[in-house]
């Protein structure tokens, strides 16, 4: 009983997942669980939309993803299980726009990625996707204000 209890407690620690777990779940997310693969972004991929996306991203996405989408200044980014991926990573960028919209709408369980449908508008979310596709260089946007005081 004690061994089982200890094993259970150890299993609750937010340690990084192993390669096998990461590989299986990455495949499953991309090919099975994350839907909306074919929907296209209705907003133009231009500077105005990018600016809108950057502004919408700043409402609360920056708390976990940093202002540059690459975790700059986020103290716990690698302390979650799974850790927060840089949004420039292949894992993220290989999703289609429609899949990214699905993730923003519904979140990802069991990660800490929340569901933003209804909190942010569709316009906000689609413009964030344009921002994600053209993220600024890592470290160029500074650290979120909440972590500097």
């Amino acid at each position: 009983m004690c061994v089982l209890a200890l094993a259970g407690l150890a299993g609750c620690k937010a340690t990084a997942p192993g390669k096998f777990e990461t590989g299986v779940l990455t495949f499953a997310k991309h090919h099975v669980f994350v839907g909306n693969k074919k929907e296209k972004n209705p907003l133009p991929d231009n500077h105005d939309t990018w600016n809108d996306g950057k502004e919408a991203f700043s409402h609360y996405c920056v708390a976990c993803h940093g202002m540059d989408g690459q975790n700059t200044g986020v103290p716990f980014a690698d302390r979650l299980s799974p850790p927060i991926p840089p949004l420039t990573s292949k894992d993220v960028q290989s999703y289609t726009d429609g899949q990214l919209k699905w993730i923003l709408d519904y979140g990802i369980k069991p990660s800490g990625m929340p569901a933003s449908k209804g909190i942010l508008s569709d316009d906000d979310l689609w413009s964030i996707i344009v921002y994600i596709r053209h993220l600024p260089p890592a470290g160029s946007q500074g650290v979120p204000d909440i972590y500097t005081h």
Partner: protein, 120 residues
């Protein structure tokens, strides 16, 4: 004698500048529509306007800062916390247009919408 002969031509010249009927109308004032923005709705949530008719949306925030954007009409205005803003425009196409709150105002921001019907 000379005055009498000068008076008639002067009167005729002067009459030429008095229009029989004025063709100049005072420009019609734009129609003003008052809208209240509050977490998380616009009141009224639907309005109807006419194509080609100047309109001013007078939007008052009942609480925090809000915005109102009609993307398809290229219209956007921000309203300060507790403040009022005006959005003048003349619709140039008919249809049903959805306006969305464009300033993040809280957990229900994404669903804060209104509809503008533009008719002939």
């Amino acid at each position: 004698m000379k005055m009498k002969y000068m008076l008639v031509p002067l009167l005729l010249i002067g009459a030429a500048f008095v229009p029989l009927k004025s063709n100049v109308r005072a420009q019609d004032s734009p129609r003003r529509i008052e809208i209240t923005a509050k977490q998380f709705s616009f009141e009224p949530s639907e309005i109807t306007v006419k194509k080609g008719e100047p309109v001013v949306l007078v939007i008052k925030s009942a609480d925090v800062a809000h915005g109102l954007r009609f993307r398809d009409l290229n219209l956007n205005v921000k309203i300060d916390k507790g403040g009022t803003a005006e959005l003048p425009f003349t619709p140039d196409k008919t249809g049903d247009f959805v306006g969305q709150c464009s300033v993040f105002c809280g957990s229900g921001h994404g669903g804060m919408k209104m509809t503008m019907h533009v008719v002939n």
